[in-house]
Amino acid sequence: MIAAEGRALTLGLFVAFILITLGITFWARATTRGADDFYAGGRAFSGMQNGVALAGDYMSAASFLGIAGLIALSGYDGFLYSIGFLVAWLLSLLLVELMRNAGRFTMADVLSFRAKRQPGVRTASAISTVTVSVFYLLAQMVGAGALVALLLGIHPGEEFAGVSADAARVLTIIVVGAVMIFYVMFGGMKATTWVQIIKAVLLIASTAVLTVLVLSRFGFNPSAMLGAAAESSARPEGFLRPGGRYGQDVAGDPLQSVLNKLDFISLGVALVLGTAGLPHIVGRFFTVPDARAARRSVNWAIGLVGGFYLMTLALGFGAAALVGHRAITEQDPAGNTAALQLAHALGTHFGGDIGGDVLLAFIGAVAFATILAVVSGLVLASSTSLAHDFFGHVLMFGRPRESQEVAVARISAFCIGTLAIGLAIVARDINVAFLVALAFAIAASANLPAIVLSLFWRRFTSTGAVAGIYGGLGGSILLVALSPVVSGKVDPVTGESLSLLPTGVDFSVFPLENPGLVSIPFGFLCAVLGTLLSSERPERAAFDELSVRSLTGVGSHRPPGRAPKHQRTP
């Protein structure tokens, strides 16, 4: 899809992005000394900086390319994702100050505040953090591999610069993985945050440019754009209504229709409740000096994420109208290239062939930058949890040397990054898009109950927290394993398997593809039962201390040099 000069330009821009961010990483390496620097960027980012970085962490390539493609092909239903992704931030807004005040680096700091059995809670949350991060990571990295082949226009069987499509994908996964490991290992939270900030600004600015260009083609009349999009779509009748993709009505099968709708609601609920439990988002709550800055950063994130997802409407419907259903599916049946094709079409319209190539190259490079930034955030979150929670508090009984713990964090980043590269190469031919929704479902089922009950329920105990985390984590994974995602879903027309496993294998006893509707209540239930049934007595004094600290900020972790007077060392 790209001419040779365009390819060179895309690569050039991407290399420029990598060089700039590597420069930042070297600077961050030189200024990163202890754990506060490595895990929390010295807690010195302003509310606005951290808000932009939060938005950067959150707006993955899946939401940029994926949602635009979903809207372009399925119409209205793509928008449902955008809404869930945005509304979710209100829950983070409620929790951010409490968590910033009570915790130090990770979710487990908050959960184990009241815990008698620190190691159990720490281990459970490290396991859940790494699981969520690796699933999400895998989806992004496999996506990166597929994207580069599409971007450079290498179709299966073709070669570009002596590289086949498959080799290009493997190569991309390795390069993306290596750069990501480098950012995190050497630059920690400082480098990762600046990478997010640069990427978020690039992504939002280029989306805004595309949006203005799209709207200008329709005289800035959204209704005209919608009409044109519906007309050139595959089904003009229902394109602008819900039900094109999720919660479909199956003629003559009312049970399946209801199940489809429940599945859709399950997805929506997991999206809204999962965000506040995503480890790479939670880790960012601790990078600001105090709770007010944390609130401000979530407000910034809400503004930016909201504006971005509103603009994806213009990208998606614009691609449907200006590129057309057939041209999009010819390039990629899943629609992931719709935004890129739209950029090409708009550039060509306004600036001729050169304009098309330039705009496409630019948007392509932004998409790469997006993937790179998001995966770095995920690796940082999981290595922080492994080093701080598992190594520091479980293996070293909470008394590690700080330099030791940070060294372990760097090594963990390398190990997790390498693991993710390996898994992504193995899984490169599998459609792993479901892992994003699964990561949200696990975050909502395992992490959220423990966080909410720790902060609000006086009677809650560490046994309850451990039971809730393992119950929610195990429950959601088991339900997905037993769902049509893994086995038993067959295309009624072609007879091909739509599940992970080939046709013939069918152990799908759970009818919903999204486990949230069952696994989230199950996670809460496990946490409550674990508390009530165990003989562990709640630490009520610790709960008082947690609520005092979380609500007032007394005794919270401050950036070096800004500690309030009463926290002086004797």
Binding site: L90, E545, A563, H566
Partner: protein, 139 residues
């Protein structure tokens, strides 16, 4: 810089926190925050679930045209965006006016109590386990 070297876990500031926890101002702060959380979650989650329910089960209604090609579904979707912005603004305003000043007062009072007594460290905390401020410290 005790703040960074103290590790999370119960009991370091237990004495002082127990004093604050029984403070009338703190109870007011907690009550206000809890009421806010209940109202806030009720409104945004209820409104979002209503929207999800309508998208799944009331598709005829959602398909009604409002202006040109803009139908009820699109309008409600954009309203979800508007309500998210509005609720975030409302929460922040409420926190700024009703919560932050209280929290700042509590922090200041606590700081003056501790500052007048003795520096706080793990050892000091154990010493004030009996809740009352150290007798000789406050004049």
């Amino acid at each position: 810089m005790a703040a960074a070297t103290v590790r999370p876990g119960a009991g370091r500031m237990g004495g002082e926190c127990a004093v604050i926890a029984s403070d009338r101002k703190f109870r007011l702060l907690r009550a206000r925050f809890q009421r806010l959380v209940v109202r806030f979650v009720g409104v945004f989650l209820g409104w979002y679930l209503l929207y999800l329910g309508l998208s799944a089960f009331a598709r005829g209604f959602m398909a009604h045209s409002v202006i040109g090609h803009v139908n009820v579904a699109l309008l409600l979707g954009v309203l979800q965006f508007a309500s998210t912005f509005g609720l975030a603004w409302y929460y922040s305003r409420y926190a700024r006016r009703m919560l932050d000043p209280l929290a700042a007062q509590i922090r200041a009072e606590s700081a003056s109590r501790l500052g007048a007594g003795r520096p706080v460290g793990p050892a000091g905390d154990r010493a004030v386990a009996g809740r009352a401020a150290p007798a000789g410290g406050l004049s």
